[in-house]
Each structure stands twice: as C-alpha cells, then as structure tokens.
C-alpha cells in the first residue's frame, strides 16, 4: 500500500476506464486493511465530474487518482480544500518534462536528453520537480562550442 494512506478510514478512488484494473486492485488492498473505499470509474478523467465528486466528500478522506490527465482533478481537489498530501497520484505514470524555454510539457521515457516537441530545443531533465505541473524542469543542453567564435 502507498505510504501515507494508513491514516485514512475512508478513501475515494477515481480512475479512467483504462486503469480500472489497477484501481480495483488498490480498492481490494485498502478494503483488506479495513478501509472503506468509494471507487469511481469514468470513461476518461473529466474535470467537471471530478470536481463534483471531490467537493462533496466528507472531511478527512484520502483521494487516489489513476489515469491519464490526473492533473486537472488534482487541481480542483486542492481548490476544494484538500491538503496536498491527502492526494495520491498513481506513481507509475509516465514522466513529464517541463521545457524551460517554451513551457511545453513533453512525455519522456527516460532521464536522458530529448527534443522538446514544441520548440525543438535539445533538453535534459533535472531533479527539480513541480507537484503543481507534475513535471521535472528540463534545461537546454549546451555544446562546448556554443557561443565560441
């Protein structure tokens, strides 16, 4: 079980259809530990439906989000008054890299350098991570010869 979930008696799990299997496993695991779990499956994660769901939860609940595009629901949950550490995002998600030059977020497979989809800069992800963007900051890669001559 995820670290930090132990303290909740009730947990809301939101998932898209694609990750339902995973969410079900999480539900069972939590239920085995005596927690009550409300599971909500959407075809795809929808911010408006998500907002309605999270805002009407009783106080003191944990929130777990699975799926593609968790960020929208995470942000409405924070606006609805969740403490940021009451929200848990599926950690197996793809890595996101925030281009420091054009702000575009590129999904990357590894920690190696990559080309920004939007501005085509060659970038390198850093350890500077934003939970607001759910992305790592990526810096341009310089070659030794840059700027010389």
């Amino acid at each position: 079980m995820k670290e930090g979930l132990e303290k909740y008696r009730h947990v809301l799990v939101i998932t898209d259809k694609k990750h339902e299997e995973k969410a079900l496993r999480m539900q069972r695991e939590l239920q085995n530990r005596g927690k009550s779990v409300q599971l909500e499956v959407m075809a795809s994660l929808d911010v408006l439906i998500g907002k309605e769901l999270v805002s009407n939860q009783p106080i003191g609940r944990g929130l777990i989000i699975f799926g593609e595009g968790t960020l929208g629901i995470e942000r409405v949950a924070v606006s609805a008054g969740y403490s940021r550490d009451d929200i848990f995002i599926d950690s197996s998600q793809e890595s996101r890299a925030f281009c420091s030059q054009c702000h575009h977020i590129t999904i990357i497979g590894s920690d190696e350098s990559f080309i920004c989809e939007n501005c085509l800069q060659q970038l390198e992800p850093s350890e500077h991570y934003s939970t607001y963007h759910r992305a790592s900051l990526a810096y341009p890669v310089f070659k030794e010869t840059d700027g010389k001559g």
């Binding site: 606006s79 403490s83 940021r84 550490d85 925030f98 420091s100 030059q101 054009c102 702000h103 800069q121 850093s126 350890e127 500077h128 991570y129 934003s130 939970t131 607001y132 963007h133 900051l137 810096y139 341009p140 310089f142 030794e144 840059d146 700027g147 010389k148």
Partner: protein
C-alpha cells in the same frame, strides 16, 4: 563614483563564503525602494511585460485578495516614503495614484477588478523596479501563488507557480541535507504582521542585462564560455538581489520583493575593500555553490583578473 556604485548594496561582510540566513529587520518596514535607475528600469519592465506577459506575470485565483492588499500597500508606501515622486488620494473606496516621475495617473476602486485593466499585482509592479512575488501562507505550507517577475536570475516563474516554498528551493546545493530550507520556511511563517526582513543574495552574471530568465537561457547562458582574463572587467557583473519579505497584515500572506542591482567588475575593483572581499569570497566558494551560481565555467579567468587587480592596487591577498 557613479550613481550605480554609490547605490550598490555590496553584499559581503566577511572574508570568506558562508551561506546563512543573514536577514535583518527593517525599521520602518519597507517593501520597495526607488533608485536613480527608476525610469529606465520601470520602462524595461513594462516592455518585457508587454512582449512576454505570460513569462513575466502569473497568478492563481486564490491570490486575488493578497494582490489587492499589495497594490494598496505599495502605493501607500511610495506616496508616504517618496512624496516628491508619488501621491495617493483616497475618496471612500476610490483611489487615485499619481506617479510624478512617469507623469501617470492610475485611478481605481479598491477590490473592484473591473476598475483596472491588469491584475492588481501586475499594476503595482508596473510602478516599481522590484519583482513582486506573493507567497500564500496556507494550512499545508507556504506556496508561490502570484508573481510579476521581469528580472529573474535564471529561473522560471511559470515553472515555480503553485509550488511549495521548500520544493522551489531544493535545487540549491547543500541546503536540503541540513534542513536549512525548513528553518528559513519556519522563519518566514513567523514574520509578524506589518514587519519586513531584508537579505542580500548575490551571483555573478555575464551580461549587463537585468532580465536573465530561464526561458532565454539558451541565448545568454552560452556567454559564460566567452569570459577571458582580458574581458572579465567589462563582461562580468556582480549581481545583487535585495530581497524583502513582508507579512501582509490583512490576508496574512507574504510579499517577497526582489530589487536587482548590477555592478560591472571594472567598477567594483575601483573600491579596494570591495575588491578584496569579492576576491576572498569567490576564492572560498565551495565547488557545488560555484556550479549552482554558474561561476565554475570561468572561475579561473575571473580569479586571474581579480588577482591582477589586487597586484596593481598593491592589496595583500
């Protein structure tokens, strides 16, 4: 001495490098200052805002109350502390702010967003040289919720928007392991209403530009490869940020203001005391801090330049 030198907030007090929370309490509490570069820097800020608004201004909706508080605070402070340059008149909820330096008048109704064309913090920032950041003091931490940032030293406002104070500062080397940043955060959360603390933060920059955002790093970052012993005096600038933390009394949020000053090395070395202190501080800088401040790339050239100046001026190392 030039105006720049006279006003320059030289940051070094010791003969070796030490990273600490060297804050002082300001009496009276001030959030901004007006220097002799006011007109040119405010114009530069406005150009940057007009050309790259998304890069230079960001705000979350939750910051709106604090933004209004900052607008009134800054305008009141300017008119009280610099009455020869600024006037603020109030009639009920209607305010009229006159900027005599720029010959401009701003009229607005307090907390009426329809009475102004930009967000309140954006308006306040267009009349000061400082970058202005609002940190929201929330039940689950201190978060960056709004900012007008034109003159950053290699950071991105868009990236740090919405981030927790601690997380913003994790890339500073050596400060996570000794919980230094947690101490600073706790210090900030205990700043009393209407009080302001000031610290100076220095770095070195290879351009005389104030606007060195991360977003244009690929343009100016490579200049660091160009430093030679011969051109260091012109190319290299000591950059000092006078940073102030002000507890907003009504919203209980924090206004973080940054006033940036640049001094070319050629001017710095004309002051013996400054030359010696700058030299010893750079010399004793730990490698990871030098890397972080971007100095490592040209530290050798810089040191040679400073040593030559010390010899010329017959100052003992």
């Amino acid at each position: 001495m030039s105006n720049s030198s006279k006003e320059f907030p030289f940051p070094f007090t010791k003969d070796s490098y030490a990273y600490s929370n060297n804050s002082i309490l300001l009496d009276p509490a001030r959030s901004v200052a007006v220097s002799s570069h006011y007109i040119e820097e405010v114009k530069l800020k406005r150009n940057l805002l007009n050309q790259n608004h998304e890069r230079c201004f960001r705000a979350l909706p939750l910051s709106l109350e604090a933004q209004w508080e900052v607008l009134l605070l800054v305008f009141k402070e300017l008119s009280t502390c610099e009455p020869q340059y600024f006037t603020l008149e109030q009639r009920g909820n209607a305010y009229q702010f006159t900027n005599h330096l720029l010959r401009e008048v701003e009229s607005f109704s307090f907390k009426d967003s329809s009475s102004i064309e930009v967000e309140p913090l954006d308006l306040a920032g267009r009349h000061v040289q400082e970058d202005l950041i609002i940190m929201g003091d929330r039940h689950d931490g201190l978060f960056l919720e709004a900012g007008q940032l034109c003159f950053p030293s290699n950071w991105s406002l868009t990236f740090v928007l919405g981030m927790e104070f601690k997380a913003i500062h994790t890339p500073v080397p050596g400060i996570t392991d000794n919980r230094f940043i947690e101490k600073v955060e706790r210090f900030i959360t205990r700043i009393r209403p209407n009080s302001a603390w000031e610290r100076k933060n220095w770095s070195v920059t290879i351009t005389n530009k104030l606007d060195t955002p991360l977003e244009t790093y690929s343009d100016w970052g490579k200049l660091r490869y160009n430093v030679t012993e011969a051109n260091a005096g012109e190319l290299v600038n000591l950059r000092v940020e006078v940073q102030r933390l002000y507890r907003l009394p009504v919203t209980n949020d924090i206004l973080f203001s940054i006033h940036t000053y640049l001094l070319p090395l050629n001017e710095l070395i004309s002051n013996d005391e400054w030359l010696k202190k700058f030299y010893t501080n750079v010399k004793t800088l730990p490698k990871e801090i030098a890397d972080y401040k971007g100095i490592s790339l040209y530290k050798r050239e810089l040191m040679t330049f400073l040593e030559r100046a010390l010899t010329q001026r017959k100052i003992e190392r």
